[in-house]
Amino acid sequence: MRIDAIDQRGVYSPLRRFMKLILRDKAGLFGVILFLLIVLIAIFAPQISPHDPLQQNLRLSRQPPAWQAGGTWEYPLGTDNLGRDMLSRIIYGTRVSLTVGFLGVLIASTLGLVLGMLAGYMGGRTDSFIMWITNLFLAVPYLLLVVVVASILGRSLLNVILIFGFTNAPLFVRITRGEVLRIRKSGYVESAISLGASQGRILFDHILPNLIGPLLTVATFEMSGMIFYEAGLGFLGLSVPPNIPSWGNMLSAGRQYIQFSPWIAAYPGLAIVFTSLSMNLLGDWLRDVLDPKIRRSA
């Protein structure tokens, strides 16, 4: 009956709701903006970098940042031990970090999604086997696994991405499986089954869409983790080759100067902190927004 007649005046418009969702969580807003900014920096790295990140100028090595005594605006964040522009290297490092994070998560989530759906949907032996393998990987301390595999495979961007992709997959398997089991038990899937929907239909129409929320949230956190761990591998000299400006490599090289040219290690460190921060905030925010249970209360 006359639903249109129901008083709509008090209900917020979709745009207002969205804005309220963002504005309510100031930290989340900050995270979203920061994240977008970092992505833009990565995309437009060549356009915004003041210098070639690989161009060294040894006469100008270890210049302090512009606002310190002896610094110039030519090199706003100073130069590293080989006279390369810190700002440009950090800007280009964004690309490495985001590439590692994004592709790593893509591999991990794709693998996790496929295996997790298989496990959750097929059940039985398939499930037991997949979960056994998953738990196996989760039993070995993550960093140890990564370090050992990286030391065996050697340094390259592809290796780093593959390592993170594969070693993170178990987490996604677990989450996907859990969600699939939860959704399967819920009424609408059962009714879909009773209505004779095909397996494929059920997976793609009912289960997959419901997985996107939780997986997206986890992916954000994991991406932040990968960026974190890329730096860790770089610190041990196991990440991408040294001629690629990654934050891990910069931090690793900069640690020798930490007492007298602290900016060489400090800024890549801050870059990691801010990127990781943006993704954590983004993840928190996504979780709030995507989880209707939490959304209900302010």
Binding site: L58, R155, Q256, Y257, S261
Partner: protein, 515 residues
């Protein structure tokens, strides 16, 4: 660093009579009896305290404070008596007769005698010993009587005494058999200036002065504590706070930064390592312009190596004039490094028929050596200035060395070679041995001839002369672009006296004391 003038004995095959006091060096205010504690940071965790098993330089440095060999190489790489008071060498150069010092005992009271030497050799040649090949340079070691040992070699071996000084730690037979090789590595016993006290796994290694040391008046501190600190920035922090007295393996920047710090003295010295760009005349370099000596000389003129050193190493490295370093026997100081002279390089190239230069492949390892990628890039630029266009391939070092061993690298490739024996022969053989050497891509009959002769010349002077001639030959017909000899950076607290590290980055703490 202050170089000590040592009263040395020039010729090894003269009968030598050395005394401990002659070695004492120039300590001005050395304490009469050992006092105080010396704390030394080492950058790695020693794998074993048995000098024959200690895998690398730093572990060896720790171990050797507790041992002696029959002979000892002084600061000038001149071999001097140690546990042997003197020795004779047969005319054909293959039989050495050592007369052992009497009255020396191991730290545990076992007597030092010919049996101990024989036992040490027998154990040292077993395959599970890290340095078994060094012990294996002697074909046999026999006890003639309690204090006489006869050592025989297959062929005259001019490096034998040097190797003995470096690697033959004499160990007590009874104790070693009792505890086994593993046990010995955990708690070694030697005749050296310091005796083992404890090894707190990976935390500290403690030694105290050997009160009965045969070198009178040594050692000068009564305790040495080695602290493994792998992270160089932590080592730097620790020397600043005075938690340790000696640190090594710092970076040039750290050394520079420490220069102004009160209470800290920076120690730098060139090490026995040469960096070079190698040519290839065996595989990929065949029929390349680089087979022409003029081209190779041109390339040596074309690269401004001093600029590279100044910019990349803060000027803290020396120009190489050959594959030898100043500390090596027979180094010819009269040879000046190739100057930077691009005009001359172009003329030479024109003479050789390449007025417009040529294209050639070039490779360098990534991450293996400090700034070496940048060095390679700079060289690429300088070569381009005289018309030599290179395609520089910087590759992951593991793969690089695999290719190098297979002689599959491009005709120009960069690398370095270190040497610890004090002579350049092993390095020369390794880098220029042609097909016989894994990492060589060069073969030259003249060089082969020199190396063969040096290899059987036991007379140190004669050998030095051969080295000098070879040095000159390799300057005129260079099989490498000679680059630089790097320096190493260490630091001590300013009250540490007579810490005297050598070009092989080894040191003997028996002379060192705290003021």
């Amino acid at each position: 660093m202050e170089k000590k003038k040592i009263i040395g004995l020039g010729l090894v095959f003269l009968v030598m009579v050395g005394t401990g006091t002659a070695l004492a060096g120039g300590g001005r205010e050395a304490p009469a009896a050992p006092v105080s504690t010396l704390r030394v940071a080492v950058p790695t965790f020693p794998n074993s305290l048995d000098a024959s098993i200690a895998a690398e330089r730093n572990a060896q440095n720790v171990a050797w404070q507790m041992f002696d060999s029959l002979v000892w190489a002084n600061d000038q790489n001149i071999v001097e008596p140690a546990l042997a008071e003197r020795w004779d060498i047969s005319d054909d150069g293959t039989v050495y007769t050592f007369h052992l010092r009497r009255g020396v005992t191991f730290h545990n009271g076992e007597p030092f005698n010919a049996d101990a030497v024989v036992y040490s050799w027998e154990r040292g040649t077993q395959p599970h010993i890290e340095w078994s090949d060094r012990w294996g340079r002697a074909k046999s070691v026999e006890a003639v009587d309690e204090y006489t040992v006869r050592i025989t070699t297959e062929e005259p071996d001019p490096l034998l005494l040097g190797v003995m000084a470096q690697h033959w730690n004499i160990i007590p037979p009874r104790y070693t058999q009792e505890v086994g090789d593993d046990g010995f590595g955990q708690a070694p016993v030697g005749t050296g200036p310091f005796e083992f006290v404890e090894w707190v796994r990976e935390g500290r290694i403690v030694m105290r002065a050997n009160p009965n040391y045969w070198r009178e008046g040594l050692p000068r501190v009564d305790q040495v504590i080695f602290r493994p600190i792998p992270e160089s920035s932590t080592r730097m922090a620790a020397i600043q706070t005075g938690e340790v007295d000696i640190v090594n393996r710092l970076t040039v920047e750290q050394a520079e930064a420490l220069e102004g710090v009160p209470g800290v003295n920076v120690v730098t010295y060139p090490i026995d390592r040469v960096f070079y760009i190698a040519f290839n005349n065996l595989t990929t370099g065949v029929d390349q312009p680089t087979e022409d000596a003029r081209v190779r000389r041109a390339m040596n003129y074309a690269v401004d190596r001093q600029a590279i050193i100044d910019s990349l190493f803060g000027g803290r490295a020396q120009l190489a004039t050959g594959l030898m370093t100043e500390s090596n026997l027979g180094y010819d100081h009269s040879i000046d490094p190739y100057p930077y002279d691009p005009a001359r390089a172009r003329r030479l190239l024109a003479d050789a028929g390449y007025p417009d230069g040529f294209e050639i492949g070039f490779a360098a390892p990534a991450g293996a050596y400090t700034n070496f990628e940048q060095v390679a890039e700079a060289i690429q630029g300088y070569l381009a200035d005289v018309g030599i266009r290179t395609s520089l391939d910087i590759m992951e070092s593991g793969r690089y060395w695999d290719l190098e061993a297979e002689k599959a690298l491009p005709p120009l490739f960069g690398d370095s070679w270190s040497e610890r024996s004090g002579e350049s022969l092993p390095r020369l053989l390794g880098a220029l041995g042609g097909w016989d050497a894994s990492f060589s891509a060069w073969s030259d009959p003249t060089i082969d001839d020199y190396l063969a002769r040096i290899g059987v010349t036991v007379d140190q002077d004669e050998r030095a002369q051969l080295y000098r001639e070879l040095h000159q030959f390799m300057y005129d017909d260079p099989p490498f672009i000679y680059l630089y000899v790097p320096e190493t950076f260490e630091a001590t607290r300013d009250n540490v006296v007579d810490y005297m590290p050598r070009a092989a980055e080894d040191y003997f703490l028996m002379f060192t004391y705290i003021r």
